[in-house]
């Protein structure tokens, strides 16, 4: 069932500054959709438009089949968790969580039940009568989540909820959010983050935003294995995917590309005879590279190594703007300054023409 639907949604400030355009997206009930993108891509703006904190300049937003463009935030059936928690500093935890219910004139019994339930789920029971300033960052974030839960919304909106937490707490809270989602399978969640790990681990689907629009929508592994374009290819995964320019020399079920750098790569992406001679970029993830004695896609001299124990990152000397990076498993001592030849399995080689993957033609 569709929970939330965006149709050709756009956002302009004034008449000139266009932030988002032509956003089409359907979110099913029970999904956890993560918006990611570089800073300034409008992911928070899109979330705030869904929340009703920003006006929708064009297009329609439907929640549960009802167009809500002009419905005030409180009546949209959404709840939002802010990056800065946004707790009311003068109210106790209980009052923070009941504020919306009191405004909605719910009965006292109803309010108590909702609060106690939320407090139990979030382990906030001992803190209900404290002020926010007497809580730790993680507890505050739980109160902010509790404030959403008590309202029993159709859609939960999370705006970078973990950014203000330290690294250890971030991991713990991330898992808590995942568990919370498990315990509420009927609730739809939209989650904005710039942290890839959060996106990959939490999302049932990821929406990558770039250049005022959606670059790709898909499950985390779809985005990782089959990026639709060079932007997504390089945005998902760390270090970013290596791109090498080249020319298609053999077509068919397997495509052979001769690279401008001298190497040859074979891709499992099928091509037609007409594609022969096409100028393409091939993409290989650093972790998909293997050292080879035979035919290499890339041969270069190692400039810098970063030994992380489980893997070793090799940075190659290159004239191009983009660094060439390989991530080889295990420890590779003494490769610095040496020539290394690298190849990758055909399934791991992406082919892009004009920035778009040939796989999706």
């Amino acid at each position: 069932m569709t929970s939330l639907k965006l149709t050709d949604v756009g956002k302009t400030y004034g008449n000139a500054v266009e932030v988002l355009k032509h956003i089409d997206l359907e979110i099913e009930t029970g999904e956890l959709v993560v918006f990611v993108g570089p800073s300034g891509c409008g992911k928070s703006t899109l979330l705030r438009m869904i929340a009703g904190l920003e006006k929708i300049s064009s297009g329609t937003l439907e929640i549960d089949g009802q167009v809500v463009n002009n419905v005030p935030p409180a009546q949209r059936g959404i709840a939002m968790v802010f990056q800065s928690y946004a707790l009311y500093p003068h109210m106790t935890v209980r009052d923070n969580m009941t504020f919306a219910l009191k405004l909605a004139k719910k009965s006292k019994a109803e309010i108590d039940e909702a609060v106690n339930k939320a407090a139990r789920i979030l382990q906030l029971e001992p803190y209900l009568d404290r002020l926010p300033k007497a809580l730790s960052g993680g507890q505050r974030q739980r109160v902010a989540i509790g404030r959403s839960i008590v309202r029993d919304p159709k859609v939960y909106l999370f705006d970078e909820p973990l950014s203000n937490l330290d690294a250890a707490l971030r991991v713990a809270t991330r898992i808590e959010i995942a568990q919370l989602k498990e315990s509420m399978p009927e609730s739809t969640m939209i989650y904005v983050t710039h942290d890839q790990v959060e996106a990959m681990t939490l999302a049932s689907r990821i929406v990558v935003l770039a250049n005022k629009g959606i670059a790709q929508v898909g499950t985390p592994l779809e985005l990782y294995e089959r990026p639709e374009n060079e932007f997504v290819a390089q945005f998902i995964g760390s270090p970013a995917m290596n791109l090498f320019p080249g020319e298609i020399v053999e077509t068919g079920a397997r495509t052979v590309i001769r690279l401008d750098g001298g190497g040859t790569a074979v891709s499992a992406v099928p091509t037609q005879a007409a594609d022969k001679g096409l100028k393409v970029n091939i993409g290989i993830r650093p972790e998909d590279f293997v050292e080879t004695e035979g035919e290499a896609a890339y041969t270069g001299t190692v400039a810098i190594t970063e030994a992380l124990g489980e893997v070793t990152l090799l940075y190659f000397e290159t004239d191009a703007d983009q660094p060439v990076i390989a991530k080889l498993p295990g420890i590779h001592a003494d490769v610095r300054g040496r020539q290394v030849s690298l190849a990758a399995a055909p399934e791991k080689v992406q082919v892009f023409h004009n920035g778009i993957s040939l796989y999706y033609r």
Binding site: A51, G52, L53, P72, P73, A74, Q75, I78, A79, M80, F82, Q83, S84, Y85, A86, L87, Y88, P89, H90, M91, F99, A100, L103, A104, R147, R151
Partner: protein, 325 residues
């Protein structure tokens, strides 16, 4: 000697004296009293560090002691003497004062002022701050409302003398009355209510102050708490009273008490408008009536004012300090 040269010499002596004092006193401390030498090296450095703040504080403490503490003690002492200052009469001045109708009138009026003016200033200031927030012409409105702050109380009184003027050609109140065919009145002569017409002048001056401080406080409220309240379903009134005001209540209290202290000191308005006639006397103007005529009585009034202001002042400073944390 020409006054310019005198001025220059004064400045040189003043500034040079300050520099000389700090330089020499520190020099003496480091070289003579606690020289970091031999065995006492580390210990003497620590000792000098402990003494040093007092070297810097001394001039200020001394000046404050001379010009604040001494006058307070001196005034109190003087208030125990009779009119000409040659006969000790103990609490005599206080006793006669409290028995006098004029003083009780002043005390009552002052009570009214303290009740009305800070409340009105804070309320209007908050209202204006909230309403002009985020308006394009809000800053112009705020500048206009702030402007009376720059006018002296006597100057403001003169302006309001025109507003309250008897002549319908000049005074706006009587111009309005005139247009309804009513006879002109002098609002300064309506007993009891004339107090409020005087208060309006101070409210007019002080609203700008409250507005500026509260406006800054409103801006300091985290935007997200307001957005969270919008999502929670609060209407603008609920956002204002349940989210915004509670978050700036500390600032409101500071503004309120600051104006209260000011109200307890204002005498110029009453002095310039009515001279304390028509039952408009307040404590400071009552004090002025006796100054130079009966210094014993005047200092007694001054002391009463101080006793009233002091607790407000202490509360104000505490609250302001709390706000800073």
């Amino acid at each position: 000697m020409s006054p310019i040269i005198q001025g220059i010499i004064t400045v040189i002596i003043g500034v040079g004296g300050c520099i000389g004092y700090f330089y020499l006193s520190n020099l003496i401390l480091d070289r003579v009293i606690f020289p970091p030498r031999n065995d006492d090296n580390g210990r003497n450095i620590n000792r000098a560090t402990m003494v040093r703040p007092w070297l810097f504080l001394f001039p200020a403490i001394f000046a404050l002691g001379l010009y604040l503490v001494y006058p307070v003690v001196g005034s109190f002492w003087r208030s125990l003497f009779n009119r000409s200052g040659n006969e000790f009469i103990g609490m005599g001045n206080y006793a006669t004062m409290f028995g006098e109708e004029g003083f009780r009138q002043a005390l009552f009026n002052n009570f009214l002022w303290v009740l009305v003016v800070p409340a009105a200033c804070t309320f209007m200031g908050l209202l204006v701050a909230q309403l002009t927030d985020r308006l394009r012409w809000g800053n112009i409105a705020k500048s206009l409302i702030f402007m009376p702050m720059a006018i002296s109380f006597v100057g403001a009184s003169l302006i309001w003398k025109f507003v309250y003027a008897n002549d319908p050609e000049i005074g706006i109140i009587n111009a309005v009355r005139d247009s309804f065919g009513m006879a002109p009145i002098d609002v300064m002569q309506i007993p009891f209510w004339n107090n409020f017409f005087l208060m309006i002048i101070l409210i007019w001056i002080q609203t700008g102050f409250a507005m500026v401080i509260l406006s800054a406080a409103l801006r300091g409220i985290p935007e997200e708490t307001i957005e969270a309240a919008i999502i929670d379903g609060a209407n603008p009134f609920q956002i204002f009273f349940k989210i915004k005001v509670p978050q700036i209540v500390g600032t409101i209290v500071v503004v309120w008490t600051t104006i209260t202290i000011l109200v307890l000191k204002v005498f110029d308005i009453v002095y310039a408008m009515t001279g304390g006639n028509f039952d408009t006397e307040i404590l400071p103007s009552y004090m002025m009536d006796y100054m130079f005529r009966d210094d014993g009585r005047a200092t007694a009034v001054a002391f009463v004012i101080m006793v009233i202001v002091l607790p407000v002042m202490i509360f104000n400073i505490r609250q302001a300090r709390k706000e800073m944390h």
